[in-house]
Amino acid sequence: MGDFLSTWLALTFNGIAFGMILFLISSGLTVTLGVMRLVNLSHCGFAMIGGYIAMAAVDYLGFGLLASIPVALLGTMVIAAIIERTLFQWTYGITELGQILMTFGLTLVMVALCNIIFGPLLHALPVPNWLTGNFQGGGIVISVYRCFLIVISGLIAVGIWYVVERTDFGARLRASVDNPRMARCAGINVRQIFSLTFTVGCGLAAVGGVLGTQMLPLEPFYALDYLILTLIVVATGGLGSLKGSFCAALLIGVIDTWGRYILPAGGGFVMYAIVLVVLLARPQGLFARA
């Protein structure tokens, strides 16, 4: 196979892996925005927290990467539930600007605490032995770990799809996103649905954070560094649309990866330009709901 083609295939593949991680991290935010219209800038912080919990499990409890996932998941969900019951009560009923500032404040707290506890250095979680190395064939080189990422994320995405589209809970969730007022008037406890969804969303972000450290290394400013990317995925995909953020995440993952290859220093430019065009053409996002 031509050199050129194999490079582009490898890039696309890496882009998809990156996009999958982005989707995992953004999925929770998209639903939060869709159901409660809450602009939560601290969302990436939960991905970071998940990553750090996993790191603690690996470093201090001797867990392997895969074993640390459930620990990170549970730990992050507990923290998310607590924060939602307490701090987030203050975010309901205030302006968008207020929500932005308050959740931004929370993000800063997360960044500071992670630095105080874990220090400022970059960390990537170690890949288990059976996932190291590359597949080679026909001139293409693909990292085993990234393959694994795509498969796992794909499975999770399918799981999310199933819950949202085929279960009772999913129907109530979709109703809440479509029309929260009517949902309440049909007897749906929108409050409870949101709490649950928020917690699970943060858990998903945590899983993304744990799995993605090879591409998104852990460090205290993680929560801010990838915030813009996450917001872009959600805004381009359409608020409240999981299908939208899935497509947007993949698109942005691939474009960003290609962009950085073509223009190493300013590759992000291409991505931002495309995002701008999309948002101008369809301000409500690619697949917006309500």
Partner: protein, 244 residues
């Protein structure tokens, strides 16, 4: 003496700082029906929304079967027994007809099968998404969905608005049937004569207050109130054979 189904006393409500309805008081017994009449903007929908908890509540008492509910959140009121078919229908666009029904399901005699039997047009479209239905079908779905909550009291806000005459006939027959089965309901409706034909009791609102409270028959016999507050032009606007 059994508790009235719905008891409303001195209710005052509105939006923001604006008071839209004031000093509202009435009661309804089990299986009874009430028409709420009045010109546009007098507060008919606000009254319904206040019962559901979607306005700014400023005072008064409301109870359903003796249980006070003015402090309950909306979904708790639905659990208590209030079912609502809104003016704008509010069908969930991302849900199918069947899902629109199932998300509202509560225990009781009304279920999806029974409702789809009652509305064959909906049954034919059970897999359609909410935004793939005609106006009349959406209205049927809104009423069916309200019934899925197995309400003690059904609130119908302008169910016949903007529908083709044949659909209006169908829905009127359905509501009559519900009345016959003992389902209590409050009906806000611009089609005054139809409303009076469907509901036994009636109140007229004017600028947020009740100016008439009594039986529909009384209004039919003496339409002067209707002329004055609802804008009818006289007896000619009322069909001769209006009976519940």
């Amino acid at each position: 003496m059994a508790d009235a189904l719905l008891q409303v006393e001195g209710v005052r409500a509105g939006y923001g700082d604006a008071v839209v309805i004031d000093d509202i008081g009435f009661s309804l017994n089990e299986g009874e029906s009430l028409a709420v009449l009045g010109r546009n903007g007098v507060g008919k929908t606000t009254l319904i929304l206040t019962l559901m908890g979607q306005t700014r509540f400023m005072g008064g008492r409301m109870s359903l079967r003796g249980k006070r509910f003015e402090r309950l959140p909306t979904n708790a009121r639905v659990a208590l027994g209030l079912g609502w078919a809104p003016q704008e229908r509010g069908i969930f666009a991302s849900l199918t007809v069947e899902e629109n029904l199932s998300v509202a399901a509560r225990p009781g005699p009304w279920n999806a099968k029974r409702l789809l039997d009652m509305f064959p047009a909906l049954a034919a479209r059970r897999g359609n998404f909410g935004n793939q239905l005609s106006g009349g079908e959406q209205q049927m779905l809104a009423i069916a969905r309200a019934l899925m909550t197995n309400p003690a009291l059904l609130l119908l806000d302008e169910p016949l608005e903007g529908l083709a005459p044949i659909i209006v006939e169908e829905l009127t027959a359905t509501i009559r049937r519900l009345a016959g089965e003992g389902v209590g309901f409050i009906l806000v409706e611009q089609h005054t004569q139809l409303a009076l034909g469907l509901a036994r009791q009636a109140i007229i609102l004017e600028r947020g207050r009740i100016v008439f409270q009594g039986t529909s028959q009384a209004l039919v016999d003496d339409p002067s109130m209707l002329v004055r507050f609802v804008g009818l032009r006289g007896e000619r606007d009322l069909a001769p054979s209006v009976s519940a």
